[in-house]
C-alpha cells in the first residue's frame, strides 16, 4: 500500500504543477513620475519611452501628464507599465484639442532627445524638469 500511495501523491503533485505552469503573465514594470516645464506642471504633455534596440517584441510606452504634471506609462494591449530595458525618453506637446493648440516643448526633449532611462522590473519613478530656454 505504501509505494502505491507515493505513486498517487507524485501523480497529484505533477497534476498541480501542470495546472500552475503557463500562468505566469509577461511582466511589465510600472513607470510614473512628474514632468515640469520651467518649474510648472503642464497638462497634456505626451511622454514616450522609445526602446533603444528595435526588438520586435518591444514598442513605445506612453503616458500623458495630468494637471499636477504626473504621468504613468501605458502599453499597447490595454496594459499598464512598460517592459524593463533601456529607453530614449521623448516628451512632446500631446495633441488633444481640436484647434491645434499645443504646448511647445523644445526639440532637445523630443525629436533630438538626449534623455535616456533604464527601466528595471518593479516600480520606477522618473521626474523630468524641462526648460523652454
Amino acid at each position: 500500500m505504501r509505494p502505491r500511495l507515493q505513486v498517487a501523491l507524485s501523480f497529484l503533485s505533477l497534476a498541480c504543477l501542470a495546472l500552475f505552469t503557463g500562468c505566469n503573465g509577461d511582466s511589465l514594470a510600472s513607470v510614473s513620475g512628474v514632468v515640469t516645464l520651467d518649474g510648472h506642471p503642464v497638462r497634456g504633455l505626451e511622454v514616450n519611452f522609445e526602446p533603444v534596440d528595435a526588438a520586435p517584441d518591444r514598442t513605445t510606452g506612453t503616458g500623458y501628464t495630468q494637471a499636477d504634471g504626473s504621468y504613468s506609462l501605458h502599453y499597447p494591449g490595454y496594459k499598464k507599465g512598460t517592459p524593463p530595458g533601456d529607453y530614449i525618453v521623448r516628451i512632446s506637446g500631446g495633441e488633444s484639442l481640436d484647434d491645434g493648440t499645443r504646448v511647445r516643448v523644445p526639440a532637445k526633449y523630443n525629436a533630438k532627445s538626449e534623455l535616456t532611462e533604464t527601466v528595471v522590473p518593479g516600480k520606477n519613478k522618473f521626474d523630468f524638469d524641462l526648460t523652454s530656454k
Binding site: 502505491r4 498517487a8 520586435p56
Partner: protein, 302 residues
C-alpha cells in the same frame, strides 16, 4: 474471501488520481477551445477585410481612382458620406446603395433633427460585412455621437488610413494627410509610389474602449475629433490597442485603431492583401506603412 475483495476493488486514492488526471486534461483543453473560437472569428474578420479590398479594387477599375475617404462639398461642420458607402455596390449592397442614393441626397439632408422614419432606419442599418465578429459592439453607437447628437447611428468596425500624424495635415476638409483616404482624395494607385503592398488602406477599431466607427462617413468635415472625420478614418500615429483613457488622455480615444483579436489588429494593404499586424510593431515601421510616398524602407512586420 478477503483477499479476493482486496484484489477487485480500488482505493480512494486511486479514484482521486483518476479525477485529478481528468481535471488536468479538461484544464488543458478548455483554453484551446476558446482560442480556436477566436481564431475562427479572426479568419471571418480577415475575410470581411479581403472583401473590402476587392471592392476597393473593383471601384478603382470602374472609376480609375480609389474612393475618397469622405465626400467634401464645402460648408463648415457638415456631415457627409465616407468610403464605406462608396464601395457598397461592389460588396453586393446595390439595393441598399440605391435606397441611400448618396449621389442625389447628401448625408446632411438625411441626418437632421427632422429626419423621417425612413431616413433614420437607413442610417441605423447595420451592414454585417462591416462588422468584425470578434468585437463586442452594440448595433447603435451610444457612447460617441456622430458630429451632433441628433440620433445614434449604426456601428461598424473598419476604418480607412488617413496617414500618420498631423503632417502634412489633419483629415479636415480636403487636406491631404499623406495616407490613402481623406476628403475628396480619389487617389489613382499609380500615386502610391511606395508600392501598394507597403501602404495601409484599411484597419479596424473595436467598441469597448474606442467606440468603434460607423460606415456612414464623417460627423463633421472641419474637425479631426473622434466624432468628426476620424469617425470613419484613423491615423496610424495613435497606438494600437491602447487604453487612452487610463493613460490620461481620454480626448484621444476613438481616433486610432484597435481590435479584440489578442495581440494586434488586422490590416488591409493597398494591394488588397490582409495581414495581422502585431501591436508591438515599431513606430518607424508603422509610420512607413501609413504614408503612400515617403520612400522609407522597412522590415516587414508580418
Amino acid at each position: 474471501m478477503q483477499a479476493r475483495n482486496h484484489a477487485r476493488g480500488f482505493t480512494l486514492v486511486e479514484l482521486l488520481v483518476v479525477i485529478a488526471i481528468i481535471g488536468v486534461l479538461i484544464a488543458l483543453l478548455l483554453p484551446a477551445v476558446q482560442q480556436a473560437r477566436e481564431a475562427a472569428r479572426r479568419m471571418s474578420c480577415s475575410n470581411n477585410i479581403k472583401q473590402i479590398g476587392l471592392a476597393m479594387h473593383n471601384y478603382h477599375d470602374t472609376y480609375l481612382a480609389l474612393p475618397s475617404g469622405y465626400i467634401y462639398r464645402g460648408g463648415n461642420g457638415k456631415c457627409n458620406y465616407g468610403w464605406c458607402v462608396a464601395i457598397l455596390p461592389f460588396i453586393e449592397q446595390q439595393n441598399f446603395y440605391s435606397q441611400l442614393n448618396p449621389g442625389s441626397v447628401p448625408l446632411y439632408n438625411r441626418y437632421t433633427s427632422s429626419a423621417t422614419a425612413t431616413d433614420k432606419a437607413l442610417l441605423q442599418t447595420q451592414i454585417q460585412a462591416y462588422v468584425c465578429p470578434s468585437d463586442a459592439a452594440p448595433k447603435l453607437c451610444k457612447d460617441t455621437n456622430f458630429g451632433s447628437s441628433i440620433f445614434d447611428v449604426a456601428v461598424s468596425n473598419y476604418v480607412g488610413c488617413a496617414g500618420w500624424s498631423s503632417t502634412p495635415s489633419y483629415p479636415v476638409k480636403d487636406g491631404d494627410c499623406g495616407g490613402l483616404l481623406w476628403g475628396n482624395s480619389y487617389l489613382n494607385l499609380k500615386e502610391v509610389t511606395d508600392g501598394t503592398s507597403n501602404t495601409m488602406l484599411v484597419s479596424e477599431r473595436s467598441y469597448p474602449l474606442d467606440h468603434a466607427a460607423t460606415w456612414l462617413g464623417v460627423g463633421r468635415n472641419d474637425s479631426y475629433a473622434n466624432t468628426a472625420t476620424l469617425r470613419t478614418l484613423y491615423r496610424a500615429g495613435f497606438k494600437i490597442n491602447f487604453d487612452y483613457a487610463a493613460a490620461g488622455s481620454p480626448e484621444n480615444l476613438g481616433k486610432g485603431w484597435s481590435s479584440l483579436h489578442p495581440g494586434g489588429v488586422m490590416i488591409l494593404t493597398a494591394d488588397a492583401s490582409v495581414h495581422f499586424l502585431p501591436e508591438t510593431t515599431n513606430t518607424t515601421v508603422l509610420q512607413a506603412l501609413s504614408y503612400r510616398s515617403d520612400g522609407n524602407v522597412f522590415a516587414s512586420p508580418y
